[in-house]
């Protein structure tokens, strides 16, 4: 009987901790989240020998593990597609989200491949506790050149805060891709856009496999 009690006690304690952990994850403040991921990714990129020597596959892996879970790709794709989103079939929507997700992964990895000795600083978050959309502001300091402004827009979902837009040097990613999407859709419709994205991703995947150290 004792053993069973002990076992149950441990099980109960364990599950309480697990729930607490999950609750804590959902409660993590947006700026704490961004700080945590940014630091984590940056420190890993700086310390990893393979990444420093230009191993693109390793960088992609790092991005997939540490960044992608915190990004809301569906919303990003919806925003980038703009008014064309309503005209897309569910099949097209799924494909568009998947392809845009890959493109963003390559974009972020490409940027990460240029990390050498940069540091990040964060601005105190200005938001009220019941805001469901916030903007987290940071800047990247480099030894050469001016600081690079890097801001994030996050939304609060039941599963926690998720990033849905990124601003580099004053330009929002979604806004910028909106123009690109519109021009591709203008040329070949939504299918044309999906095709362009797919081909581009295939090209980037091939290039990543053959990546040498960046110049």
């Amino acid at each position: 009987m004792n053993k069973l009690h002990k076992f149950l006690a441990v099980l109960l304690a364990g599950s309480v901790l697990a729930f607490a952990g999950a609750a804590r994850a959902a409660d993590e403040a947006p700026d704490a989240l961004v700080k945590r991921i940014s630091l984590d990714v940056l420190e890993t990129a700086k310390a990893d020998q393979q990444i420093q020597s230009g191993d693109q596959q390793r960088i992609l892996q790092l991005v997939e593990e540490k960044v992608m879970p915190y990004v809301d790709f569906e919303r990003m794709t919806t925003l980038a597609a703009g008014r064309f989103w309503r005209e897309a079939t569910p099949e097209q929507k799924t494909q568009l989200i998947a392809q845009f997700r890959d493109l963003l992964k390559y974009t972020y990895s490409g940027a990460l491949a240029q990390v050498r000795d940069q540091k990040i600083q964060f601005r105190p978050l200005r938001a009220s506790p019941d805001d469901t959309e916030v903007e987290v502001q940071s800047q990247v300091l480099q030894s050469r050149g001016d600081p690079i402004q890097l801001n994030y827009r996050l939304e609060k979902l039941p599963s926690g805060w998720k990033i849905y837009d990124v601003n580099v040097l004053g330009a929002w990613l979604v806004q910028t891709y909106k123009g690109n999407f519109a021009s591709e859709i203008g040329k070949g419709g939504i299918d044309g856009l999906i095709k362009t994205l797919t081909e581009r991703n295939q090209h980037l995947a091939g290039a990543a496999k053959n990546a040498k150290a960046p110049s």
Binding site: A29, D40, Y106, R126, R144, G170, A171, L197
Partner: protein, 253 residues
């Protein structure tokens, strides 16, 4: 003179021809045909001359020399930034830029060392286009200039002021000035090599991507005062080991 007129008419005809063929138009970019043609021209020039030069420069020149060159021309640029900050009524920003120039020129061997940044005076670039924007002048349509690249109507009008506000323009003998100008351009291009390679990979339509980034960035530059973080403090990101859950400020801003 006649040849110039003929070339001018030819250029306009090509541009208008370009305009006629584009379908959907962007309200910020009514001159898209002309701009795309200019963009291609600049791109060719970049591929053929500037990018190779910048690549060689980056590979061959020791990095501290590159940094020194960047700092030197950056220092010269700070003079004009100071004037523009003051013209915009930004006394703090203007003063910071003046201090930068003073410290870097006197203690930094004529600007080659950037001591100002280490002392906490960060560079804040301002040009006459931003000043006009601060005074309320709308940017006008997007314009791609030959050689100079992305611009807007307002910024193009401001360009001569920027050229004459750059004290290197007054450097004599002329040969030194031209060589210096060329080195500055190559150095700036070299600093952007990584970013431009990335751009080629991830942009579906490079012209539109560059345009949209430029217009957003420009608007953001006109809006900011004295550097993005002059008023608020910032904090270094905490060490990875620490487990602080940062409190959000109940500001209601």
């Amino acid at each position: 003179m006649k040849r110039a007129v003929r070339l001018g008419i030819l250029a306009i005809a090509i541009a208008l021809g370009g305009c006629a063929s584009t379908g959907a138009s962007n309200p910020r970019d009514p001159l898209e045909g002309f701009n795309r043609a200019m963009f291609s021209f600049n791109d060719k020039l970049d591929q053929v001359a500037l990018k190779p030069a910048a690549t060689v420069y980056k590979d061959v020149t020791p990095s501290f020399v590159q940094t020194g060159i960047g700092n030197f021309f950056g220092n010269i640029g700070d003079v004009w930034s100071a004037i523009n900050s003051l013209l915009q009524g930004n006394l703090e920003g203007g003063f910071t830029s003046v201090m930068r120039v003073a410290v870097n020129t006197v203690l930094g061997f004529g600007g080659v060392l950037d001591i100002g940044t280490e002392a906490g005076l960060t560079r804040h670039q301002e040009d006459f286009g931003q000043t006009l924007g601060a005074w309320g002048v709308d940017s006008g349509p997007y314009l791609v200039l030959p050689l100079f690249g992305s611009s807007t109507l307002r910024d193009t009008v401001a360009l001569p002021a920027d050229i004459y506000g750059n004290i290197w323009t007054y450097k004599r003998p002329i040969a030194w000035r031209n060589v210096g100008a060329a080195v500055r351009v190559v150095d700036q291009r070299a600093a952007l090599l990584g970013a431009s390679n990335l751009l080629e990979d991830v942009a579906l339509d490079r012209y539109a991507f560059v345009r949209d980034v430029y217009l957003q960035r420009r608007a953001s530059q006109v809006r900011d005062r004295g550097g993005p973080w002059a008023d608020d403090g910032y904090e270094d990101a905490p060490e990875p080991a620490s487990e602080s859950a940062v409190q959000t400020k109940p500001d209601g801003n």
